[in-house]
Amino acid sequence: MATTLPLSTRGLLPAQRVATAATGESAVVRWVLIGVAVLFLALFIFLPLAIVFSQAFAKGIGPYWASLRQPDALSAIRLTLLAAGIAVPLNLVFGVAAAWAIGKFEFFGKSLLITLIDLPFSVSPVVSGLIYVLLFGLQGVLGPWLARHNLQIIFAVPGIVLATIFVTFPFVARELIPLLQAQGQEEEEAALALGASGWQTFFRVSLPNIKWGLLYGVILCNARAMGEFGAVSVVSGHIRGRTNTMPLHVEILYNEYQFSAAFAVASLLALLALATLLVKTLVEWRARRQLAESARWDGEEQIA
């Protein structure tokens, strides 16, 4: 039915050109601003990062590997992976469920639920840890009952996992709520009217639509789960080889003046941060490209 040629808007962007002309600054101002930003980044981000790695390898590659292969270091790495391995999938499920409820339905107490989801962001991590000590510790509310049944939560792995779950709870939900709200319910309604069950609708229609946002939330959640210090520190008890996570292990080594060992473990965390950034950028780029593509076609819609 289209007789007109589709006009491609790619590479044109006249609006952008006009904007630079009208709102642009002089070259001097631009270079000064860019210079300040670069200097700031160099001082506060690149320099520390470089120091972490240079300190880690200060005594050469041999001691670096040796300090990573120490039983205590290995156990800390294992515990960090375990805590993240449990916290991230659980928060994935909780986050999707909560975001789903908030994004797609109207119900009483919705704003309260949103506030509760944000709570871990607004509460100091130390306080979060303390809550668990007060709940499950020997002197705590549930402590005596737990002790009678021989269940240890505080100063043990379950406490660390619980604290990690609490601190990282908002990441997935926060990422998905605006996305689900923006998408509305029409596609789900269409799926239901076509005879799909609730689960089919979720897995075939809703989930594919939020996959990039979800992945982004999971990446951030994972980074925080592995890097969390405050809350975990309170509930861990710092038992070497048993309840130390990587960040806690770094602190202990540092306090014992084992600088290169401390920085070796720290370099792993720094690598994790870099890898997270890389994946995050890739995901963002992929999601943006998808968005731009559909926007481009939306623009041409009027013509065809």
Partner: protein, 342 residues
């Protein structure tokens, strides 16, 4: 399959979207729900579909109570105003969706699904675009895919919510003729919602005119246009001149002063003449003439100061040679008296 809505009421908070609405749609008919925004037409459609549930009242499909069945169990095809295509699926996958999600025991084979989708792609004339994503289609193409997707599950009823609402004028015209044709071929009971009276009158077998949560009138396009029951219907189905007036000895007449009754007359049912005809005519001064288009639109001011719109053919306009600020006589050919204004 026939549809019957009985005494349907629905409130959103304090707002009564539907107020005791009853409507019967005979099997195989194409019915338009016509009304301004907020008149409850979309709500009624969604309640028929099972996407929304009424506070009170019943919905019957072929005499069978479906009031409490969900959209999934009602076997309706629903077409959304903004298409609601699955954006991560191709055209083919979109159309096949309803067949693929069926329980294994009643799911058609892969080959059958393939054949069915291709049959529908032929019907919507998009055979060569089956691999495209919705974002790569034009609005008109998307709406046709949405229609094919709804038809794929062989629904007993087809429901369309402002199906052409977000398309530009030309595509809209083309698509609504196509819908009419399609309905003549498939003969599936269909209900579509629109706020465009031209669309409703052109496409449907019958029109239900809705206003403020109630149905004002149901009838064939001819009936509702020529014999409107209420001032609202008269006004909504075309342009109108509103005067004071009343029935004088069984004959409707225009009065200058308020009488408590109102006279409605369509612009094309007013005639302009140079000389008074001795009967029911009034003097007016021509204020504006728009002769672009099939009809010439004349705006005038009556002797008592009321604005009057008159439409006439180009031919008639050429004969009269009207000019601005000229005084003429207007003769109403067909008046309709209602006791209240809109």
């Amino acid at each position: 399959m026939s549809i019957e809505a009985k005494n349907i009421s629905k409130k959103f908070g304090q707002f009564a979207a539907l107020d005791n609405v009853s409507l019967t749609i005979p099997s195989g008919e194409l019915v338009a729900l016509l009304g301004p925004s907020g008149s409850g037409k979309t709500t009624l459609l969604r309640i028929i579909a099972g996407l929304e549930f009424a506070d009170s009242g019943t919905i019957l499909f072929d005499g069978e109570d479906t009031t409490h069945r969900t959209a999934r169990d009602r076997r309706v095809g629903f077409v959304f105003q903004h298409y609601a295509l699955f954006r991560h699926m191709t055209v083919f996958e979109n159309i096949a969706f309803g067949l693929k999600v069926r329980p294994r025991s009643v799911r058609p084979s892969k080959e059958q699904i393939h054949a069915k989708v291709h049959e529908l792609l032929g019907l919507i004339q998009l055979k060569n675009l089956s691999g495209r994503y919705p974002s790569q289609l034009s609005g008109g193409q998307r709406q046709r895919v949405a229609l094919a997707r709804a038809l794929a599950v062989e629904p007993s009823v087809l429901l369309l919510d402002e199906p052409f609402g977000s398309l530009d004028a030309k595509v809209r015209l083309e698509l609504r003729r196509w819908l009419r044709q399609l309905h003549d071929e498939v003969h599936i009971t269909s209900v579509f919602v629109t706020h465009d009276q031209e669309e409703a009158l052109e496409v449907s077998d019958r029109v239900a005119v809705m206003n403020e949560g109630r149905i004002e009138q149901v009838g064939s396009p001819d009936e509702v246009y020529h014999h409107p029951n209420t001032p609202f219907v008269y006004n909504f189905l075309g342009s109108v001149n509103l005067f004071h007036g009343r029935m004088d000895d069984e004959i409707p007449a225009i009065h200058e002063a308020a009488t408590g009754d109102f006279v409605y007359v369509r612009p094309h049912l007013l005639e302009i003449q140079r000389q008074p005809n001795g009967g029911s005519n009034f003097r007016a001064v021509i204020k504006h003439i728009n002769s672009a288009g099939p009809l010439v639109k004349v705006e005038a001011l009556s002797e008592w100061g009321a604005p009057v719109q008159v439409e006439m053919s180009q031919e008639k306009f050429q004969d009269l040679q009207l000019a601005k600020e000229e005084t003429v006589f207007i003769i109403p050919k067909e008046l309709k008296v209602f006791h209240k204004a809109i």
